[in-house]
Every structure is written in C-alpha cells, then in structure tokens.
Symmetry: C2
Subunit: 315 residues, 2 copies
Amino acid sequence: MYYIGIDLGGTNIAAGIVDEEGKLVRKGSVPTRAEREADEVIKDMASLCRNLLDEEGLTLSDVAYAGIATPGIADHDTGVVVYANNLRFSNYPLAAKLKEFLGIEKVYIENDANAAAKGEAACGAAKGYKNSVMITLGTGLGGGIIINGEVYSGFNYAGAELGHVVIEVDGLQCTCGRRGCWEAYSSATGLINMTKAKLGETNDTIMHDMVKADGKVSGRTAFDAMRKGDKAGQEVVDKYIYYLAMGIVNMINIFQPEVFVIGGGICNEKNYLTDPLMKIIDKEQYSRDSSKRTQIRIAELGNDAGIIGAAMLGK
Amino acid sequence: MYYIGIDLGGTNIAAGIVDEEGKLVRKGSVPTRAEREADEVIKDMASLCRNLLDEEGLTLSDVAYAGIATPGIADHDTGVVVYANNLRFSNYPLAAKLKEFLGIEKVYIENDANAAAKGEAACGAAKGYKNSVMITLGTGLGGGIIINGEVYSGFNYAGAELGHVVIEVDGLQCTCGRRGCWEAYSSATGLINMTKAKLGETNDTIMHDMVKADGKVSGRTAFDAMRKGDKAGQEVVDKYIYYLAMGIVNMINIFQPEVFVIGGGICNEKNYLTDPLMKIIDKEQYSRDSSKRTQIRIAELGNDAGIIGAAMLGK
C-alpha cells in the first residue's frame, strides 16, 4: 500500500508517493499561483497526484489515503483550514475538496510545521520515539510538537507556535506584533539581521567584502567569516547560537521530549552550529544532572519533511 | 467507592478521603519531619491514612487506590521518586513503600505541581476540558500540563518546569542557575523582590510605612498600596502583571489549551490581578483574532488541589 503526501506552499505544490516504510518513491511539483481561487489550486493539486500515480504505474486503489501539509490553522478533525493568509483559505474544506477533485476516500490535513515534525517523528531524526519537538529555522521559526506519536496543536489547532514565545521582554519587534519573540532572534532572518547590525557597528571585518562579492547578507555570511578567523563573524555566530540555545532549553524544560529536532538551512553548518549549542544546552537545562536527557538532532528529511509527514498523517 | 489523596510537603503530610465526585469528605495532616529516613515519613503517612479512614467509618476495602503528590521528579509509570531534594528521596520506591506500610494494592504517584493541575482539571477550574495548563504562583512558579486528561511530564518525568522558561535573556538570576526565568519575575518571590527594588528607588510611597507596620514586604504590599492610590505601588503591580502576562501568552502560543489556570496566594487579588492581565493577553496572543481562545481562570481548589489531584490520578 502507498500514501500520497502533499506539501502545499505559497510558491509550489509539492507532492509525493510514499511507501509503507515511509520512503518517498516519486515526487513532483507544480506552481501554486496562490492568487487564484482556492478550488483552482486544489484542482491542480489533484492533477499533480494523478500524474505521479501514472508515472509510477499506480492507481488510486493502491493508495490508502492522501495527506496535505498546509500553511495556516488546519483543523485536523474536520479537514477544514480555518485560516491561511497566503492562500485565500478561510474556513476552506480542504480535505473534502481534494476528495472530490481527486476521487479519493480519505484525506488528512495538518499545518505544515506540524506535518514536518510528524515526518521527522515517523521516518526521520525522531523515529522510534513517542515525544519529540521540532523547530525549523527559516524565514520564520516554525514549531511542531509530537506527543504519543501524534501532532499536538491545542484545542483550536493553532498551537505549537514555538517561534512566538518571548525570550526577551520588550526585545526585537516580531512580525506577530509581539516584541522579543524567539523567532526574531533565531530564525534565518534573525541571523541575517544580527549580521547586518554587526556590519553597521564595525568596519573591521571581512564580512563587508564577502557581502560585496555575494551581493547580499545571507545566513552563511557570519559562519563563513568565522571559519576564516574573522572576529566580528565569530561574535555574530556566538550571539546567534546563544539565543537559539536559550529557546531550546526553554522547550526542553517544558516538554522533556526524547528528541529535539532542528531543521532548516542553518543546519548545514553542522558541528559549527551543534557543538557550541550543545555546550550551552548541557549547562542550562533543568535536568542537566539527570541520566535521561533530551537528544538534540539535526533534521534528516530536509525539504521532503512536509511531504513525508503529510503521507504519515493517517498512520 | 473512595480514593485517598496525599500531598507530601516539606513541612506537612496532608491527606484526604475523596469521593466519586471528587469531593474531599475528610482531611488531616501530620508533620513531615523531612530530615528523617524516608521510610519513617511514609510510615507516618500510612498511619495518617488509617486514622482518616477510621474517623470516617471506612476501611481499606472502601478505597479504590491511593495517590501521592510529591515534590521532585516522580516516575508515574514505576511509582519511584527519581529525586526530591527536600525529602532525601533518591530512586525511592514511594508507591511500593506506601503499599507495604498501608496494606493497599494500588498507589499512584505524581509530582506535586502536576498533581495540582490534575486536580483542577478533574474537579476544579478546568473541569470538563481535555487540555489545560496550570501555574502556581508561590515561592517558586510551579507548572502542570494536562493533555487529553492526563498529566504530561516528558519521557523522564521532569517536564512542565514552566517557571524555568527564560523570558528575559541574561535577566534576573534564578534559583535554577539560569538567568531571566519566568519564575524570577512572576512568582510571589518575584513580586516581593520587585516591591523591594521600588522601595530602594523612591521614598515617595506609602509602602515604606506599610512595611514598617507589617514588619515585612509581602506579596500584598504593592497591591494594597495601589488600592490606596499610591503611584509607586501601581508601578510595581503594573510591571508584575506585565511580566506574568508575557509568560502566560508564551504558554498559550505553545499549548492553546482550553483553559489556563492560575493558582497561588496572589489570586486573592482577584480582579485587580485578572482584569489588567486579560487586557495584555488579549492583545498579545497569536490567536487574538480567533473565535476560539484560551480561557484564563483562577484555581478553585486552593490548598486542596494536591490532595484532590492525587486522589484523581487513577481516574
């Protein structure tokens, strides 16, 4: 038996066919063109699924169900997207629409960050563990909570907004309206802003030349400069990792999950990120003297976490 | 059928007999004398339970089980207290010991803050709801998380340390070793410290005279001064409530529970606490535009929350 997983993004609809072991056997994508009527988007989603099945030599009878990872607040009990800003979804019956347009009997939906956490829990870095928490460090800081193998998102499906936990009262302005949210410091955007601030403070850094060559400040600028022995780059990285650690320890003290998973492009820094991070976490966490401590792991599924997580929603 | 609930504190062992409806029909207490061998403490606990049953005209055959709320890390699966600083418990088989000394077949154990949350969820402010979060504002800031009606405390039973979530990076020193923990601002101790800081800043406040009359700064000093029109008292209360709200909104953004319960002596301030608190929470929370928002409620069980929660652990 196979499962269809769909990751509905603001730019692209990505979909894949996943086997019993959670392996992605085929995937593809089409542009979302999010400005359209929602029904038109979902009709393209259904076509994409049909094409993938054809290419793999499968039919709907080989598929147990489809799962959709969607932005916004997804009521996984009714299959209705309560609200998604980018996609003109407002109380939109997403599951029912895909059932209709694809002709499939069972469709599950979940918020995209939650689905990624489910993917890592079912087939990735947190495989085999009952409780895990995942963050994705991208433009924002997305969060997902898995308790007893299932996504936890609160009674209104709007929970797990781990990026919108204030770690510095009256701190940096966040897009959510609050000040001092973890996201404002520890997202890739937060790192870029820290790098820009340092560039404004000092001329004594090779980062100015790097930015000229690259044409922009990126999440890699400070890490690359640090590796070349640049003091200012090191200071940016140290500060970034310190704030990231503060937020992760917060989550450990709350959840004490078996595994805490970190995803997003910054994970490509590997040990340059995780070694100093672990030093702070080991020192700060409430249960630092316990023999049972949360494992910190880098996400394993990369950009496929949403597809695979969606495909695992019914398992 | 009846249930025995026991709240094991550093100073007293309080116990009660609770009926099917969660009503406390009889309670009593004896000194803990925590410096003794753990077995001696539990023998006294068993005697207390026997006496309560006698006084109520009941025998052990009328009792389904006993539950114990204990300080420290309580492994509710094995009945072993992994660690409790005050009570000389280190991998102490608490449930097994009470079974032996009382001659009862079933004993459940749980951390005391978690048990209080269970009590409020089963019989108090969060009754009838699947998911709730409780904080108790006392010397520290205790937390308890109820998910699907059950205590959630992570894979090592050490979670729900909501007081040890940093809300101000590099902020006030906390007893846990971190800086800027929510507990350092929002516990009763935090309020007293804020009041003392204000007294050090200004002579233009009636709080100096109040403290002279009372002999000490208490959690009521600033609230009482505020009600008498004192500007410095108002400033302390405003600041205290602001930090408290920041932490509560953090928890709402993470958990989106049906109910968030606030316990502890500061709740006696009633609307002077909750009205300004709600204004900030309504403005700050991520789901402020949603029709489904977390209800903020004052705890209903007072000091009996631990006993009643312990008595409900098996239900």
